[in-house]
């Protein structure tokens, strides 16, 4: 399932191999890298971006993009925290967070699919608007002091593995299945590969596009809830620049910015690769500023490698 599909023959294995080499290097230079505690730590650190990256992969496969995910993570987290003080905390928080995700997704989808606003513009507007709304609703401050139950998804563990990691794995499994095995998934690739050909083959391009933003919205809401639950608070300035981390993970994993190409498997390795890099550089006491430079270089190198790889396949 992780393997690249035929029209998205991406070097998933290659990236997994590179990640392994990367891990070995850090194991050699960074003390404590290969400890169980640190590996769990890495997994937890990529859980939220991992959830977001699945939705982003689907969006990017259609040729779209969602720049607003960081802001909507904050907004849904705030909504969840505010809702959690009413009624049964788990239920109200879940409904509020996913509801925010769906609503923002509907707005994005309607603007992009039916009103033909470029995805870049529509979601750039959402980036600003949702962030403003998050601060407005939260009254400009964080909302902690929540019922213990609010930690249900972020602060619990199963067999010493934090729940968010399981959420991420679950989302990835379902995401990979939908993209590779379902009619809807195939339609996503068709729309991104050639929208006009898809339309002339009877695919309802607008509907497929609308739904991808709504589904993505649900995942963004879920990510927002997970983050807020982990933080134990609704924080209006949470998730800043998450969109960049998420897009980076997708691109490193071989997802095309122009659509038609990308897999959840690739995205998983992209996410892991960046998570391991950040963690390893931290453990090796590399200056945080230098870390950012390293990440920038890695993104470019990954994309160049991917391009060269595809050229050799006779592109």
């Amino acid at each position: 399932m992780i393997r690249g599909r035929s029209w998205a023959r991406v070097g998933d294995y290659a990236l997994a191999g590179v990640t392994a080499v990367e891990a070995l290097i850090f194991a050699a230079v960074a003390p404590g890298f290969f400890s169980v505690a640190n590996l769990v730590n890495i997994a937890l650190s990529i859980a939220v971006t991992g959830i977001l990256a699945v939705g982003m992969t689907a969006v990017m496969v259609t040729g779209g993009i969602d720049l607003g995910v960081g802001s909507v993570v904050a907004l849904s987290g705030v909504a969840a925290a505010l809702a959690a003080v009413h009624g049964a905390p788990i239920l109200t928080a879940l409904v509020a967070a996913l509801g925010v995700g769906v609503l923002t997704g509907v707005v994005n989808g309607t603007l992009i699919a039916y009103l033909k606003v470029p995805a870049f513009v529509a979601t750039l507007a959402m980036l600003t608007a949702a962030r403003g709304l998050a601060f407005l609703v939260a009254g400009g401050r964080s909302h902690g002091d929540l019922p213990d139950a609010f930690g249900f998804i972020g602060r619990t563990s199963v067999l010493a593995v934090p729940t968010p990691v399981f959420v991420m794995i679950g989302v990835m499994l379902v995401g990979a299945f939908v993209l590779q095995r379902t009619v809807y998934g195939r339609h996503l690739y068709a729309v991104g590969g050639n929208a006009e050909a898809a339309r002339l083959a009877g695919i309802d391009v607008r509907r497929v596009t609308w739904w991808v933003y709504v589904i993505n919205g649900v995942l963004v809401g879920l990510a927002g809830l997970t983050l807020a639950s982990r933080l134990g608070a609704g924080v209006p300035n949470a998730g800043v620049q998450y969109e960049l981390d998420v897009i980076a993970a997708c691109v490193v994993g071989g997802t095309s910015l122009i659509g038609g190409r990308g897999t959840v498997g690739g995205t998983l390795w992209g996410t892991v690769f960046i998570g391991v890099l950040t963690n390893g550089l931290n453990l090796a006491n590399v200056d945080p500023y230098v870390q950012k430079i390293a990440l920038g270089v890695v993104i470019v190198v990954a994309v160049i490698g991917d391009q060269l790889g595809r050229r050799e396949q006779g592109g």
Partner: protein, 493 residues
Amino acid sequence: MELTAQGLVKQYPGVRALDGVGLTLRGGEVHAVVGENGAGKSSLMKILSGAARPDAGVLTLDGQPLVLRGPRDAQRAGIRMIHQELSLVPELTVAENIFLGHEPATRGVIARRTLVTDARAVLDRLGQEAIDPAASVRTLSLAARQMTEIAKAIARDARVLIMDEPTAILAQHEADALFAVIRQLRADGVAVAYITHRMDEVYLLADQVTVLRDGRVVSTGALGEYNRAEMVRQMVGRELAGGFPVGSQSAGAERLAIEGVSSGRVRHATLQVHAGEIVAVVGLVGAGRTELLRAVFGAAPITGGTMRLDGAPYAPRSPREAIARGVALLPEDRKAEGLILAAAVRENASMAVLPRLAAAGVIRRGAERAAVVHWIEALRIRTPSQEQLVRMLSGGNQQKVVLARWMLAESSLLLVDEPTRGIDVGARAEIYTLMRDLVERGAAILMVSSDLPEALGMADRVIVMRDGATTAELQRSEATPDRVAALILGEVA
């Protein structure tokens, strides 16, 4: 002026596109390069124009070794390539496109007036007085874009001009204008390499002929040394069964009736198509033929008139609705509208029927593979496997993939726009046979073709369109080339 290639080898994954090919182009000669798709013509031309580098072999220009590291080197040597898919920037003007990368400028500032007057001069040299250098390319017809492309190629000192099926998108009179231009360039001492599938054009234009097959030169020589049948035989490696497949039955029940339909350029089009017949719509580029097909397919809004399909009212608001009624479109521009080039044969073929091959939204992969394999075999699609990317197939096999999609969808009214555009001779005959087989088994075909012999050879009935309206209808027996040509041009009542 002499450009030669010797012993060119080009290997792609799984296929040796060129296997020791040589070619000599001389100034003042038109050299036709003919062969089926996949014969290696495109690879050869890519190497000559610097777009690809050979794995082995050498080029010489006037006896001097010529190394082309990229298209820029080729251009510097005076070699110009006119691609089948045009390479113009739609948002720029004609003049800006013609001098793209070589704008007349003083210290980096474009001399706009010089740009336009120079472009005007080049266009006039091609006899294209009607094209406005200040118009943006987006607004031009396909034919005018083609002429702009040629103007761009010859704007600066061109010694070798390589043309890849330049008439593929042109109507007859436009092609005639192009031939005049080519003869003029030949008289000016330019060496022209002319790739084509059309025998008529070889005989009209060529001085020299080279026949390629399977990456090798089958023969090369002066045109006079060839006769047509021999040339075709060399290209396909076998005798053509000859002519077009003819129907054996009379038309059945009415399938499609169009009455006074308007849509975009189409105004008051009226025609009927019956089961078991092929109806060809002929006319000039811009007469509204493609628009009519798109309207019938629900891909363009209908602004007037009515349609019936199998006796019931028919007003599709989307291709989806048309497909559900058994209607299919094989578009003219397969790459832009028919196929997802980066996807596999399987994915392209099953695209319209996925819900039927799925249970609860999950694709049944075994069922999908079996269905696709069935049609790969039935249509004799030449592909290593159903996982092959469609991009890697020849034009004829790509067209068959689109056809396979509609066979899977059990479509019974096929709208076929330029069925063999960009498809080689051997594969054309196969497409014709497939089309005839379909109607013999009860389907109906409404086709558009700019290739008059093809339209008249295939059609049971011919509809003439002019300026968006259907202006004449002829039975097969009445449709002589002269008569139809006159009707297309509106020269007879």
